[in-house]
Assembly symmetry: C2
Homo-oligomer: 329 residues x 2
DNA sequence: CTGAAAGCGCTAACAT
DNA sequence: ATGTTAGCGCTTTCAG
């Protein structure tokens, strides 16, 4: 089923059919009708492969993220989709599974379809991947992080600064025996940066981490609960728990409530990301909004603008005290 | 940057370069080396658009789901990915946002790329969408549901049966004042089917729903909590709450625990889906595993087999009593 | 307003 | 083991 078939059925040239179907150029209403009818009757679906090759235009934007299981990424995708929905551009998602080599392959695959642009999560990539991004010839935006050296444009927050800001909020609220609960995966560069920023922030206040614990695998209530229990049994005098993500913090919160601890008096908790699904927990967890939707929107806008900028857009995460930290002293 | 450039740089024909890069046909080791080197030096990325047009082969599988925000769908994608990762096929995701017209557009867009197959969530589609799926000329599998009339192949569970089975479990445990808490969206056909199956199941046991409540918008702890509170204030003598999804059930559970209710003695709760992130709640919610990973895997296997079957694979959901229902009488 | 010709970058099929 | 030719189904460009 090709343009030819529709053209024959409508008694016009392929070119006319092409014009009608793409709504380009002047076609008489009569011809237009006939073509639409023929196309519909035949159930014609245009071949974008051929169209793309001929026009050298592919209205796809590649989006490379680590995973779909961690809710942060669907949230970014949501922001991207919200902007692209009003344009001819369509996002195509690829996942790296937090693996540099896989990410490189995914980027290569994406670029082989000659998309109109590329959005990639994070700033840490293989050299080959960076080279491909540099030479893509289309807008490339790295998202979620601005602590590093972007290949081209970047939109995100400073995770270092976010960690540091959290330290200062906690210290200002009079907590001093502070534990960190995070991921042991080096692959999560952004969590690492928050961790380092957090420690630097404590250090500036003359404090240091009282204890820390790391886990393998996915974040979740069970993980958060388990980590929290292990840490508190090991170091019994902690007065604050800072988690790498709200999902784990939620598990920790439930554990502390079960133990009958006084939150936020006896012990405070904070996470990161600000997940909407968690509204409805017994207490609102203190957190920092990672501005995922905004990041997606801004990145998509750069795709739509179709400029090869090296602009770095730094968004500021917002601290949300919730109910699990004391009021400021 | 085309094959031509690489061919010139390596001093061979385009065809030889094509052979080397696709690893097809016999090429001497010496030539092979030279070609790889030239390609690498130039940073050549093949043009799949041209390749696909020439070979009439596109190693993409379209996957159409309602959304990425509801965790059930990423779970299905995970199953699909697990199988396709060992093949040349790649999933391409499109979202319908629970909108029939949008779904139709997405399917149209997907088919216009001439994918090797199509996986679509659900059995309810526009007539035009069904026609496209029927005439796609490639394997088409509808997933997650088998209660209805599939266009071609289908892999899923019977949501009707799942609802009915849940009713029978609840009744067998001696509950009788039962409330249903679900979504008001007609778009969630599967939840509707569970609801109907559930009522039918109660009816067979000589019972009926004591009350029911429906919400708009996304599921989540806040939604579950709010619905639960509203329902229980309205009908104070309920002894069981059946939710359309575990996310809402979790919110309800937290609410009931806060109120100091005796679970599962005074009141029982059950949800649907079996979400791993919820392990770690104070109690494990009774639920029914919707076998999302399995469904994804099986559907992907049908894509790999590349047969145009009309096979219907019905998987059986498993009841997981958790801690929120009494033992069987 | 409509059509004819050329060609996008690659691969199938057929030489050699 | 390597090269040549034709053409995939469209769109661009130029004519009329």
């Amino acid at each position: 089923m090709t343009l030819r078939d529709v053209a024959d059925a409508a008694g016009v040239s392929e070119m006319t059919v092409s014009r009608v179907l793409r709504n380009r150029g002047d076609v008489s209403d009569r011809t237009r009708e006939r073509v639409f009818e023929a196309a519909r009757a035949l159930g014609y679906v245009p071949n974008k492969i051929a169209g793309a090759l001929a026009s050298n235009r592919v209205n796809l934007v590649g989006v490379v993220i680590p995973s779909l299981s961690n809710m942060v990424f669907p949230d970014v995708l949501h922001g991207i989709g919200a902007v692209l929905d009003d344009t001819p551009l369509q996002p195509v998602i690829g996942t790296s599974k937090y693996d540099r080599d896989r990410e490189e392959k995914v980027i290569y695959e994406m670029l082989s379809w000659r998309p109109s642009g590329l959005i990639v999560a994070g700033l840490e990539h293989s050299e080959a991947a960076r080279a491909m991004m540099r030479n893509a010839g289309v807008p490339v935006v790295e998202v979620m992080d601005v602590d590093g050296d972007p290949v081209a444009a970047a939109v995100g927050i400073s995770h270092q600064a976010a960690g540091r800001a959290m330290a200062s909020e906690i210290v200002a609220r009079g907590y001093s025996r502070i534990g960190y609960l995070g991921s042991s995966s080096i692959a999560d560069a952004r969590a690492q940066k928050r961790y380092r920023g957090f420690k630097a922030g404590l250090s500036e206040a003359g404090l240091e981490l009282a204890d820390e614990i790391f886990y393998d695998g996915a974040s979740g209530f069970g993980t958060g609960r388990g980590m929290t229990q292990a840490l508190m049994e090991r170091t019994s005098d902690l007065d604050f728990l800072y988690y790498n993500t709200d999902m784990n913090a939620a598990g920790g919160l439930l554990y502390c409530l079960e133990k009958g601890l006084d939150i936020p008096g006896e012990i405070g908790l904070a996470g990161f990301n600000s997940f909407e699904v968690l509204d409805g927990l017994p207490m609102r967890i203190a957190t920092m909004d990672s501005r995922r939707d905004q990041i997606g929107r801004k990145a998509a806008e750069l795709m739509v603008a179709n400029e090869l900028t090296t602009e770095v857009v730094r968004l500021e995460p917002e601290f949300l005290p919730g109910d699990t930290v004391r009021a400021k002293a």
